[in-house]
Symmetry: C2
Subunit: 367 residues, 2 copies
Amino acid sequence: MEASMTITCPTTDVERYPMYIGTGILSRAQEAVPESYRGFRPFLITDRNLVDHGHAAKIGTDPASTFVIDPPGEDAKNVRTVTAILNVLDEKGFGRDTLIIALGGGTVGDIAGFVASAFKRGVPVLQIPTTTVAQSDSSIGGKAGVNSDWSKNAIGTFWNPCAILMDVETLKTLDERHYVAGLAESLKHGLIADPAFVEYIETHTDAIKRREDDKLIELAKRNCHIKGTVVERDPYERIGLRFILNFGHTIGHAIETATTFRTLHGESIAIGMLGALHLGAAMNITPVDLFGHTETILRGLALPVRLPEGIDPARLAELMRRDKKAKEGRVRFVFLSEIGRVYVKNSDFAHTANREMIIDACRAIQA
Amino acid sequence: MEASMTITCPTTDVERYPMYIGTGILSRAQEAVPESYRGFRPFLITDRNLVDHGHAAKIGTDPASTFVIDPPGEDAKNVRTVTAILNVLDEKGFGRDTLIIALGGGTVGDIAGFVASAFKRGVPVLQIPTTTVAQSDSSIGGKAGVNSDWSKNAIGTFWNPCAILMDVETLKTLDERHYVAGLAESLKHGLIADPAFVEYIETHTDAIKRREDDKLIELAKRNCHIKGTVVERDPYERIGLRFILNFGHTIGHAIETATTFRTLHGESIAIGMLGALHLGAAMNITPVDLFGHTETILRGLALPVRLPEGIDPARLAELMRRDKKAKEGRVRFVFLSEIGRVYVKNSDFAHTANREMIIDACRAIQA
């Protein structure tokens, strides 16, 4: 058929957003909002934890312009919460000049980002990630979305923030388990892109665990630099580069599913990275000693290095096959060729492996 | 505060999409899908009317990959319908390689476009508008969204289709009232941008009403050309040009709200255009004779030219003030300076008017 006409839509301008990292800067958060959105009407989306720890009050928004997710956590990450917030915005007469402020961990950021993308065909969002996972990973890159009844992040959009602000003070009120879990994403960034960052984590393990300000800021900056660079080069997952951020995630996601999220994301990724290193070694891609080296660093950070008890490797392999990142049922992995370098073959960052070898790798990380 | 770093996200490539217009081309719809999405798994979103008239079957998708909105109509345009469709997609294992096919009027297109934008962070959508309103207006321009409990199109995104296909055969199964109502948008396009198109409609009123093929195709082409040109120059409503498409809509939306949508969109726009012409004349912007001229054309098309009974002009004015397109409570209008030309002042296409004059204009179109 011959087209009658073609419509050409120049996309919006290149999107640029600044990132602010510091300590004690929460109360100045609204200064991070770019000029063009300064007069916008702020609406804060946060959760009960941030309110209880006194962080939410520092933002200085009107309590009537606040939505508190309660109880907090992944269970809230669904269409019902999104709809509830959209209805509050609309009922209160918020318009296109709304500025969403997302204060919280990955769940809050995901929900608030999706709300911002869908309210009145899109309003700006200031992301203020408050957890190690969100500061190192989920707040950067514009992914926003919620879970369906069937799968994680099935419903969502790409919606870049107008700015990101990270106040490492918020990390100090995290419980130990959540704080530590998020460090797995930092180590992941080092392993895929920056040997010096791996060394930094090794050298300063204790100071990082004590949550010293300068270490937290350094961690945030290095994380943002690595993730930011990848995202800049592949913002919408078109060329596949962004897939390298999934190192450890193929097995990790399966662990989360198998334990119905009782194993935290960061914990699952820690174990998943070891699985991927083992599999890579078995396939002669990854140096054999990287498994032990990484295990030592993870143990130092007090991250888990073995599967929770009772998880069957064959079941894990089946869950991987059903993951949305599998292509036509073929499970895909990111492998390392050395510390700080991802294995690339035929310009591809994602590689398949046969089922038996996957199961063997899962056995190697069994409790 | 000084930013620690700035992330620059090149947006996606310029988006280009072809538009196919013809008669009897529904069964070839899948040929309209651009090369890069050919292998994608089609999922049809349509409504009961299209199924009953035999149009849906022509698309040739698997019945198991179809969602039929039933009952059809504006009441279905809500988050519940969107969520239901997203859940079906996810439950049936559809992935990122899904191609949404939207077959229907504005409601179907809006729902399906929003579903496409939010499923797995965005999948392509082939829009097949089947009504006069959708073919002339709503399918072009990438607006997708649903109503909240409080306002129209409160929840939505911009999501361009990968292609648009219009088969004028589908217009022949529309009931007379809906067919005629949509012609108001065609006349609107002529009035704001193309005097020759107004003349074409005047000259061929009877043939258009008889739904002759060549007239329907000509109408579709001219509509698409005008709307497409505006949308290309202001795809995301940034420069304000796109606002000219709201000629007649300020009063029109208020009529829809006041009659709880018993007056169809096109019918409301017909009356609203007359109101805007009267108001423009009272403000010495619009030639006085344009009101009578337009009224004659509208009557010829059998479109309403007066408000439904029992609508109070003061209440209409209040509804306009609360419309989302009002800015800080100031109602904004598009005026004509002559046939085919929108009035521009200080580079602005939207103009305020005082309340008394608005009420006067509404009185002029009272039954």
